[in-house]
């Protein structure tokens, strides 16, 4: 009994879909556009998050010491810094290491090599590279250090530039994200209206059948469910097609995006492949929610028993 009912209701739902085929196609198309814009916002969000994260990972404070400061003093500062809870790690770069890195970096530049050779002493300062637990902690570490007994040992530090970059990046991605959400919201609204209208048209074409159903005492289930099934069908079809378009597209675009992240551990396509089922599930969920909301509105307005 339950099974026959289910089969019949499903069958009616598929019939609805087929009956106004072109209208159904347009509806699915609009849903695809909606899902596509949502996916784009989502992709953008992933890329932006990774961009910010990789920049954040690179953030540190370089503390440079006067060349006259002896090594044991620097080690003492390092010990002090590590006792601060906000500090995640510190790394000591001695004068010699600094020189080595510097010559390595500029080995193709004969002028620099010459001027270095002319100097008798190593001109480079020793340094401490400090990483904080969280991005917000840097300023408090700097303040802490400035107020400590070691402040006079420090010749300079670079920190502010990073904060500016991060702020700017966050602002840009936030703006893009807001814009994307706005566009998606408009698409969602359009999709709800289009699905609603399609179902309304279907109810109109079937008014005879529906009135007969009511007359002969059809269960409300038989009158309403086919329209819900029809709308769920739109949703599933749209999500599957969207995924089928989206993934090849992502794999084509991925190398360009990845090249922006050179040197970082980020592969966009791999990220999406790893989250394939989550994405498909989310798409189906979103499109079904959209279409079921519209069918509920259409049913409550035009299918009163």
């Amino acid at each position: 009994m339950f099974f026959t009912t289910l089969l019949r209701v499903l069958n009616f739902g598929f019939q609805n879909f087929k009956r106004n085929f072109w209208l159904s196609l347009v509806t699915v198309f609009i849903l695809i556009l909606t899902l596509f814009s949502i996916s784009l916002v989502f992709t953008l969000n992933v890329v932006a998050d990774n961009a910010i994260k990789s920049v954040k990972d690179q953030v540190d404070i370089d503390i440079f010491f006067d060349p006259t400061v002896p090594e044991d003093k620097v080690i003492a500062v390092q010990a002090y810094l590590e006792s601060i809870s906000e500090v995640k790690s510190t790394k000591y770069v001695s004068k010699e290491e600094a020189l080595q890195k510097f010559t390595e970096a500029h080995k193709d530049d004969p002028q620099i090599k010459e001027s270095l050779d002319e100097l008798e002493e190593n001109p480079l300062p020793s340094a401490l590279i400090v990483k904080a637990q969280r991005l917000e902690d840097y300023s408090s570490i700097v303040i802490n250090l400035d107020n400590s007994e070691y402040s006079h040992l420090i010749s300079s530090r670079n920190f502010e530039d990073n904060q500016v970059i991060i702020d700017r990046l966050t602002r840009i991605t936030d703006r893009i994200y807001q814009f994307g959400i706005g566009v998606s919201a408009i698409f969602i609204l359009i999709a709800i209206l289009v699905v609603f209208n399609t179902l309304r048209m279907n109810m109109y074409t079937q008014r005879e059948e529906l009135s007969i159903m009511r007359l002969v005492g059809a269960q409300n289930l038989f009158i309403r469910m086919p329209f819900i099934i029809e709308s769920v069908l739109y949703g599933i079809l749209a999500s599957v097609i969207t995924i089928l378009i989206l993934f090849p597209l992502l794999s084509a675009v991925s190398p360009y995006i990845d090249s922006l992240f050179e040197g970082y551990d980020f592969n966009m396509f791999a990220y999406f492949t790893a989250n394939f089922w989550v994405m498909l599930g989310l798409q189906i969920l979103i499109s079904i929610v959209i279409s079921v909301i519209s069918s509920m509105i259409a049913i409550s307005r035009y299918l009163r028993v």
Partner: protein, 226 residues
């Protein structure tokens, strides 16, 4: 079986469709409701199948006060009242068999039951040889017989026929009325809404006459008096 107590129904913006109507129809009766167009006959029919709700008064069918009926209970009521209308309301793309089966399908009947009942009701209306025809291939009288067959699938206790002969010629009218009498013999209460004096005068059954929404006469073996 059917009781109406002080039933009044007004459509907004128009005159009163039904005014203070009291009726009692017993099981197994054959009642004709007559009156000129616009006197509230169809409104009365719609009230009985709960397609409309009265503004005042009570309608009780088989002990069930349908003035307080819930939407989810309406299908249950409709299966106890077979309905036949002037416009046949058959689905043109379905065969005779499928049209009748449709009524059973949408109330969740299993296939086995459908296969058993449809031939039975087709036999009652005398169309058992035409189950594969489409409505377009049938005469007006045959179409109306299909509709009657469809209204019988739930074995209703009441059959409500609103102008069932309105679109038919004299011979077909006779056939349909004979069919209704046959169904009445099985024990089904028949309510026939009509404005055709010949039918009523030939029937010699109870006649309720409506005028401007009110019952102006109720005779046991009546004649068309308007």
């Amino acid at each position: 079986m059917i009781k109406l107590r002080n039933v009044t129904k007004t459509y907004p913006g128009t005159h009163v469709a039904i005014k203070n109507v009291n009726l009692h129809i017993k099981p197994g009766e054959f009642v004709s409701i007559v009156g000129q167009s616009g006197t509230g006959k169809t409104t009365l029919a719609k009230l009985i199948i709960a397609e409309e709700k009265p503004d005042k008064g009570k309608i009780i069918i088989g002990g069930w006060d349908i003035t307080k009926i819930k939407n989810s209970e309406i299908p249950v009521l409709r299966r106890q009242i077979g309905v036949v209308f002037q416009d046949f309301k058959l689905l043109p793309k379905k065969t005779v068999f499928e049209n009748i089966a449709f009524a059973l399908q949408v109330s969740g009947a299993p296939v086995k039951k459908i296969k058993a009942i449809v031939p039975q009701v087709l036999k009652v209306v005398g169309l058992d040889d035409k189950e594969d025809r489409f409505p377009d291939q049938l005469s007006g009288g045959e179409k109306q017989r299909v509709v009657i067959a469809r209204s019988l699938v739930h074995r209703p206790k009441i059959l409500l026929a609103d102008e069932p002969t309105g679109n038919l010629d004299a011979i077909n009218v006779r056939e349909i009325i004979d069919l209704l009498l046959k169904i009445n013999k099985f024990g089904t209460t028949i309510i026939l809404v009509t404005h055709n004096p010949d039918i009523v005068n030939n029937l010699r059954r109870r006649v309720i006459t409506l005028d401007q929404g009110q019952v102006i006469s109720d005779q046991k073996t009546g004649r068309y008096i308007l």
